[in-house]
């Protein structure tokens, strides 16, 4: 399931040949992916160029040098005290450059970060041009662009809301422009009171773990009670996780990442897939559980596997397609898709909640789909169920926020799995290339997002649907 074009583009001779022949071939950049479990310094030796135009300066100062980044500051006249202290503590002294001046000849940025939380009105968004226009050309391959803003909904005046909302269109567009570099762009909207939750999300988005995420708004909110402690490494030590559809693909990759962060994982899959599922479970020292999630006894089986231990992480990954145009669709196809993709999730959550099975600060993550959200030919049943999850997680998140439990959906785009390998070659090729990064993702890319959402540090994200799609052409 490897992408030949991505592999060929890692060879200088191939790039050269395409260039000299003038072939209109896309040249997707091989993405840099992490080799280890979460580390204390995911940004070691990366250069982060920051333009400070808001009130998150101290938050960024506490985050970036500690995470290993070498900061370059624009928009300040001298190194602020918080940056000086952080530089001294972590051996990452900040440099100050003039925003108006051109970037130095040899300057390279692994990350460009704009703190635009101070935006007042539409005139203010000129800073997007002023900062990025000169620096975007200095962005390294697999680099990152992050724009931090305040939510439009919290704006005091319509004009301010307009300026804030503008950040989203800008980053989505820039994501498409820098995608061929393997670089990604995000806007992070930080709600009032959620400043303390910026650090883990930034570490994640700036790291190689977020390789396949791009063009996305992230809404950090303070609604869910934050956990008492947030660890940078082995964040899930001592926790119990449960992943459905664990036998292969995204599920298996999720199991491995959760286990690598220290969680004990209960691996659930249909009795028919018990073989590969138990291989995965054995590999990570987890517990295999053969169960059909649409079975009325599924909740009881899960409670049995938990054996009284509180559940910290529940990943509803199991999903099926039963594609047919609506006119030709048999009733059982409709029922099966909805039963697995939506009903079982609501039923299991309700059963586990009624049984008091969740720990405080638990994480519930359901797998939606970009195609589902956008709507797709022949997928009325699938799209209905996957779009249903968007509404489900929003409502469930609100209901469980007081206990610190977050509920999120993850929407994968084109991922290199058994499903996509079976597609007709032309469709597959189109699916791969029609994204900002010009390639499909690996199951692990989605699993990285899931496992981030599963960490205590992700308490600022709840009720949302987050895409892992490489900036797909379709989708919201």
């Amino acid at each position: 399931m490897s992408d030949l074009l991505v592999e060929l583009n890692t060879k200088p001779w191939f790039r050269q040949a395409i260039k000299s022949l003038g072939l209109p071939l896309p040249s997707p950049q091989k993405l840099r992916r992490p080799k280890t479990a979460r580390q204390a310094r995911p940004l070691a030796d990366r250069t982060a160029v920051l333009c400070l135009q808001g009130d998150l300066g101290d938050t960024l100062a506490a985050c970036l040098p500690a995470a290993g980044a070498n900061p370059v500051l624009l928009g300040v006249s001298a190194v602020p005290a918080a940056w000086r202290d952080a530089g001294e503590a972590h051996g990452r002294p900040a440099r100050v450059l003039d925003l108006a001046a051109e970037a130095p000849e040899d300057a390279r940025a692994d990350a460009l970060i704009l703190d635009a939380t101070g935006l007042e009105d539409p005139a203010g968004i000129r800073i997007l041009y002023d900062f990025f226009h000169g620096w975007v050309g200095r962005l390294a391959r697999c680099g990152r662009v992050i724009v931090l803003g305040r939510p439009a909904a919290e704006a005091q005046r319509p004009a301010q809301a307009g300026a804030r909302a503008a950040l989203e269109g800008f980053t989505r567009s820039l994501a498409k422009e820098i995608g061929r570099l393997g670089a990604t762009a995000h806007v992070v909207y930080v709600a009032d009171g959620a400043e303390g939750r910026v650090d883990p999300l930034l570490r994640f988005l700036l790291s190689d773990r977020a390789a396949f995420l791009t063009g996305q708004p992230w809404h950090l909110v303070a609604t869910a009670t934050p956990p008492p402690r947030v660890e940078a490494e082995r964040a899930l030590a001592g926790q119990v996780a449960l992943v459905t559809g664990a036998a292969r693909g995204i599920g298996a990759a999720t199991v491995k990442l959760l286990a690598a962060e220290g969680a004990h994982v209960i691996c659930v899959d249909r009795p028919g897939d018990e073989g590969p599922m138990s291989v995965v479970a054995r590999e990570v020292g987890g517990t295999p559980l053969a169960a059909d999630i649409t079975d009325p006894g599924a909740t009881a089986a899960i409670l049995g596997a938990l054996a009284g231990r509180p559940l910290h992480i529940l990943v509803h990954n199991a999903g099926i397609t039963r594609d047919k145009t609506l006119a030709r669709m048999k009733p059982e196809w409709w029922d099966q898709a909805v039963a697995v993709n939506l009903r079982a999730i609501a039923d299991i959550d309700a059963g586990l909640l009624a049984a008091g099975a969740f720990a405080d600060h638990a994480r519930i993550i359901a797998l939606s789909s970009v195609a589902g959200i956008a709507g797709n030919f022949g997928q009325t049943n699938y799209a209905a169920s996957k779009a249903g999850l968007v509404g489900y997680v929003r409502a469930q998140a609100a209901a469980l926020a007081d206990r610190g439990i977050t509920v999120n959906a993850v929407a994968p785009g084109f991922i290199e799995t058994r499903l996509t390998a079976a597609m007709p070659p032309v469709n597959r090729e189109v699916g791969r290339r029609l994204s900002a990064l010009g390639q499909g993702g690996e199951p692990r890319d989605v699993a990285e997002l899931i496992s981030f959402l599963a960490t205590p540090g992700a308490s600022g994200l709840t009720g949302g649907t987050h895409r892992a799609c490489g900036g797909m052409f379709i989708g919201a």
Partner: protein
């Protein structure tokens, strides 16, 4: 780990004597002496100097970094070579903190009552580092060496030996196994990250040379340094690396060695060195019974570790505060500070960390800085940049010089700090007895 509190522990290990070989440049006078031979010269010299009755010696604990593959238990080989057949001996390895590790291990054994008299120290011969054949080559040719091989086997083996770069013997390098980073590159990065200038490094290096030269000229080291017969019967009686005449102007001309625009040069880094050093430790009772005058004892020691991918040689910035805490002392309380100078940049980086409130808050969990080290107290007789750095010997050289310094000057405490590969840090507080 053992913090000696006199109220709790009735036994106290004391340093009564010590000796070291001259420290000489690698591939020179001591070319033919491996770590075992250097250790033998050291221990023999120490025994001769003290006149310790052989039957009183209980054990030898030895620190070596470049272990000879043919006999890795260097300590025992030294004992055997000296005819000390019934003296138990072992070898410890903790990179550049190996010498100190040997001594604190010995002190712990004495204080626990396992022994009364131990010689502990270390030696290393960079000149005798072994060139290893790559494991891939070894595995590939195993069938030829162990079985009956036909032409097919030979062909098969040949096919495994590509590319050729995988099977060429590798030059031994002081590189981190996990990160592949060479020690000097790590120090170069520390210089950049802690904003240590070339001028400051050079000034520190010149001071190290001048102080070491002054100590040699004044005869301060005469009691510590043995005369050792090197290759071709040449007798070496003093350190050969110290340059009394060096100056800022002279070393400012040197080119950086670890990075093109770097600041580390041959002059502000410690050189590759051959040598050995050891001290004799006894229980205080035994020392008095045998008529030795105790010079110093350990008030505390501490070992720490950081991620090698962070700042590889910052260990002492964590270990020194820890040892001070265990000793119940503040930095201002100690009379002498002796730091291993792997690189001037590394010492200056650590000093900067110790003096930083922000570092103390972020990395030590304390509100204020550990403190500024008074330059007049620091490395009073120079350090590894000038004297040289036989890896396993350096810790023992520092204990030896500081124990003598306390005894000679009547000062009461000395703080030692050593950085080591693997992100390790080591520190100890010595007190006069």
């Amino acid at each position: 780990m053992a913090t000696r509190k006199s109220s709790k522990s009735p036994r106290r290990a004391v340093v009564v004597a010590g000796a070291r070989t001259p420290f000489v440049k690698a591939f020179s006078e001591f070319l033919k002496l491996d770590a075992i031979a250097l250790g033998k010269a050291t221990v023999a010299g120490l025994l001769a100097k003290t006149g310790l009755p052989r039957h009183e010696l209980d054990g030898v604990v030895w620190g070596t970094v470049i272990l000879p593959g043919y006999a890795p238990n260097v300590g025992r080989e030294i004992a055997l070579d000296l005819g000390l057949y019934d003296v138990e001996a072992f070898t410890v390895t903790r990179a550049c903190a190996s010498g100190l590790q040997a001594i604190t291990t010995a002190a712990a054994a004495i204080e626990r009552g396992d022994a009364d008299v131990i010689i502990a120290g270390g030696s290393d011969s960079t000149s005798n580092a072994e060139i290893k054949l790559p494991q891939k080559l070894m595995h590939a040719i195993a069938p030829l060496a162990l079985g009956k091989a036909g032409p097919a086997q030979y062909l098969q083996v040949l096919s495994q030996l590509m590319p050729i770069t995988d099977i060429l013997p590798k030059k031994p390098e002081i590189a981190e196994r996990t990160t592949g980073e060479v020690m000097g590159q790590a120090a170069e990065r520390m210089a950049t990250r802690n904003e240590i200038s070339r001028a400051d490094q050079d000034a520190f290096a010149v001071q190290s040379h001048h102080r070491a030269a002054a100590a040699i000229a004044s005869g301060r080291f005469e009691d510590e340094v043995l005369t050792v017969e090197g290759s071709g019967g040449k007798r070496v009686y003093a350190d050969t690396l110290v340059r009394a005449s060096t100056s800022l102007e002279a070393i400012a001309r040197l080119r950086p060695v670890f990075a093109k625009d770097g600041t580390l040069t041959a002059a502000n880094s410690s050189p590759l060195t051959d040598g050995g050093a050891a001290v004799m430790l006894m229980s205080e009772e035994k020392a008095r019974a045998l008529g030795f005058t105790p010079k110093a004892a350990f008030r505390s020691w501490a070992y720490t570790a950081v991620d090698p991918a962070d700042q590889l040689l910052m260990g002492p910035a964590l270990a020194m505060p820890k040892a001070l805490d265990k000793a119940g002392l503040a930095l201002a309380d100690v009379d002498l500070v002796d730091m291993h100078e792997a690189f001037a940049a590394q010492v200056l980086s650590v000093l900067k960390m110790l003096g930083s409130d922000a570092f103390a808050r972020a990395r030590l969990g304390r509100d204020t800085a550990v403190g500024e080290v008074d330059p007049a107290k620091l490395n009073v007789h120079g350090g590894s940049v000038a004297l040289g750095h036989p890896f396993g010997a350096t810790g023992a050289r520092m204990v030896l010089t500081m124990a003598n310094e306390l005894a000679l000057t009547g000062k009461s405490t000395a703080l030692l700090g050593i950085c080591a590969a693997g992100g390790l840090g080591a520190a100890a507080v010595l007190e006069r007895v």
